[in-house]
């Protein structure tokens, strides 16, 4: 073989070997480019899953290594698998986080709704509380405000009685039915007695309980016994020429009330009934040259006009929560200290007592307070000077007028009492409107 042929063969072999080496390197480069592309895509994938994370940039150190043959490819594949696994884990975590976020959002919505409801409830409660406060204030205002139509507290009642009775007691007394009452009989009773010497006058008034069957009989027994006992003692004082002292009056009143209770109890016993059924109030008023005194159980009023013209009360009525609740003589058995007594060491121009049926007509009983115009109403317990002076003057003048018409002395008193009873029944609109039984006993003594 010629030398040229060997040289040409050598060149062909070398050229083939170089071509093979070149093709192998080209294939590795292609693989490296593909891997680099895949990694970039993976990096881009991180950006999608975590929008907050900054874009990942491969550092120089992380530069895809130069192709290192089959080992490099295996390593890169392992890396890729790891990355895929990590990606799957992240995706799973992301899904879980998404679910949790949804749950938290639902809970948040529910709480917001709850808070809104509670806010509304709170606002309603606040409005209610505000309304309640307004009402409470209005009620408190109503509580402290006295009725606007109530009359004012009366001024001092001063009126001097004029005329003369020659130092004698002149009087008028009567008990009448309630104006429109058609059943039963009058349950009030009264007695007016002047002692034989003419010095003392005794007024006794009893108001039988409307709800008790025999209270009219009890009232009758009470005034009769009390007046009799007082008269006996006063006539003995009168004949001895002594003055009536406070101690003596207390002794008389005690004796008169015990005597009255005994009389009522005896009657109940005789009639085989319970003494309670005979319940009535009792007022005993005594006036003499040096004193004016009163004792009572229950309601009604008593008063006098002193010589200087002052009209004053002599008792405080015993009243319960309701208007017609009071104490009765029959309660004295269980309450020995029940009698209230009042003694004034002064003589009077006029003395008078009434059952509660007449109190609105003759007394200041319910007016505004003298201290607080808008406060609770009060009971001034002051006899009306206008009312009493007017009828007292008639009691002074009427006997003379009747006698000038030719009427004899006993008839004069009967006629006076008859006219007086008419007056009590319907003498003015207030008396006429009153449906309760009414009693007035009045005695006047002017020099």
């Amino acid at each position: 073989m010629p030398e040229n042929a060997w040289a040409a063969l050598l060149i062909v072999v070398l050229g083939f070997a170089l071509g093979c080496f070149y093709m192998s390197r080209k294939k590795d480069r292609k693989t490296a480019r593909r891997l680099r592309k895949e990694r970039r895509q993976l990096n881009s994938g991180h950006q999608v899953t975590d929008p907050e994370a900054p874009p990942r940039v491969l550092s120089d150190a992380e530069e895809v290594p130069e192709f290192n043959g089959a080992e490099g490819v295996i390593k890169l594949r392992q890396d890729l698998e790891k990355t895929n696994n990590a990606n799957a884990t992240l995706q799973s975590e992301l899904k879980a986080l998404g679910l949790r976020l949804k749950k938290v959002q639902t809970e948040r919505d529910s709480l917001v709704k709850k808070v809104q409801t509670q806010d509304e409830q709170l606002q309603t409660l606040r409005a209610q509380a505000q309304q309640a406060e307004i009402e409470q204030r209005a009620q408190a205002k109503a509580k402290v405000s006295a009725p606007v139509d109530a009359p004012d507290f009366p001024p001092p009642q001063v009126k001097v009685l004029t005329g003369s009775t020659g130092g004698q007691w002149r009087h008028a007394c009567g008990s009448v039915h309630g104006s429109e009452k058609t059943t039963d009989q009058c349950q009030d009773r009264s007695q007016l007695v002047v002692t034989s010497g003419g010095k003392f006058v005794i007024l006794a008034v009893a108001d039988g309980a409307g709800s008790l069957k025999y209270s009219n009989l009890g009232a009758e027994e009470a005034v009769t016994a009390a007046a009799r006992v007082a008269r006996d003692v006063l006539e003995s004082i009168e004949s001895s020429g002594e003055a009536l002292t406070r101690q003596e009056f207390l002794r008389i009143s005690n004796k008169a009330f015990v005597g009255a209770l005994e009389a009522v109890s005896s009657r109940a016993e005789r009639e085989k009934r319970n003494a309670h059924e005979y319940g009535s109030t009792l007022i005993l008023l005594i006036a003499g040259p040096d004193c004016t005194a009163c004792a009572h159980i229950g309601d009604g009023r008593a008063g006098c006009c002193l010589r200087d013209g002052q009209w004053i009360p002599l008792l405080s009525p015993m009243k319960g929560g309701e208007a017609n609740m009071t104490k009765f003589l029959t309660h004295l058995r269980d309450e020995p200290g029940l009698v209230q007594a009042n003694f004034i060491p002064l003589s009077s121009s006029a003395v008078f007592c009434i059952s509660d049926g007449c109190e609105n007509a003759s007394w200041f009983t319910k007016t505004k307070s003298q201290y607080r115009a808008h406060g609770p109403l009060v009971d001034p317990n002051i006899p009306s000077a206008d009312f009493w002076a007017s009828i007292a003057m008639t009691v002074v003048e009427l006997p003379g007028q009747l006698m000038t018409k030719g009427m004899a002395q006993p008839e004069v008193q009967n006629e006076t009492d008859r006219l007086f009873a008419q007056f009590i029944l319907a003498g003015n609109p207030t008396l006429k409107a009153e449906r309760d039984d009414k009693t007035i006993a009045l005695a006047v003594n002017l020099p």
């Binding site: 409307g210 200041f364 009983t365 319910k366 008419q422 309760d436």
Partner: protein, 234 residues
Amino acid sequence: MTTNPFSAESPKNYEQKCTVALVVDTSGSMSEHSRLVNMVAGLAAFIKEVQEDENLKNKLEIGIVAFSHECRRVVEPSLAADIQLPELKAEGGTFSIQAIRAGIQMVSDRKAWYRTNGLSYYRPWVIHITDGEPDSREFGGEFEAKWDELAQQIRQAEQQKTFCFLSLGVDEFKPAYLERIKQAQIPVYKMSGLKFTDFFKWLSATIAEVAKGADVGKAVQSNTGSWDSGQSPS
């Protein structure tokens, strides 16, 4: 006829008061046979009569509780001259227990007001007017127990003299329930026809009698007149 020589002018006083709480049924059945119309006319006549009565016009304070399935204080206790009757509509059930309690509360509130203002007062009245049977739906399973509780409260009030309670049955009312809540002295009344005006006339006279101390039992049983059917047990 000669003029009486006695004459005198009376002082001015604030009148002591008596409260009457009218607990009136305005349930749907009251629209039948013009019952409600008659009752309202009777109420108007009652108020007018009290206004014209010298004794009662400044004494009687009237309050009204209207009830069906709910109850309302439609008129607070006031003098007759100050009352304006509201329009009453017949509708709903007959929830009586709360209504009667509201009537009792009304008189209790007024008594407290009297006491606070230093006023004396007469024993108040609660008047219950109905044409039917109380509705047990008011308290479901507890209705009977609540009715007994109410009955006890009313009986205690009689013993303690807190208030007078009167029930008036109209037309087809069922007396059995009303019998359970009556006071011993005051029977359940059954109205003859729809004579509300006569009933209220009798009521004002009775209240005036009791106010002056008359026995309650005796006062309520006298002269009931044409409005009372006479079938009420006494």
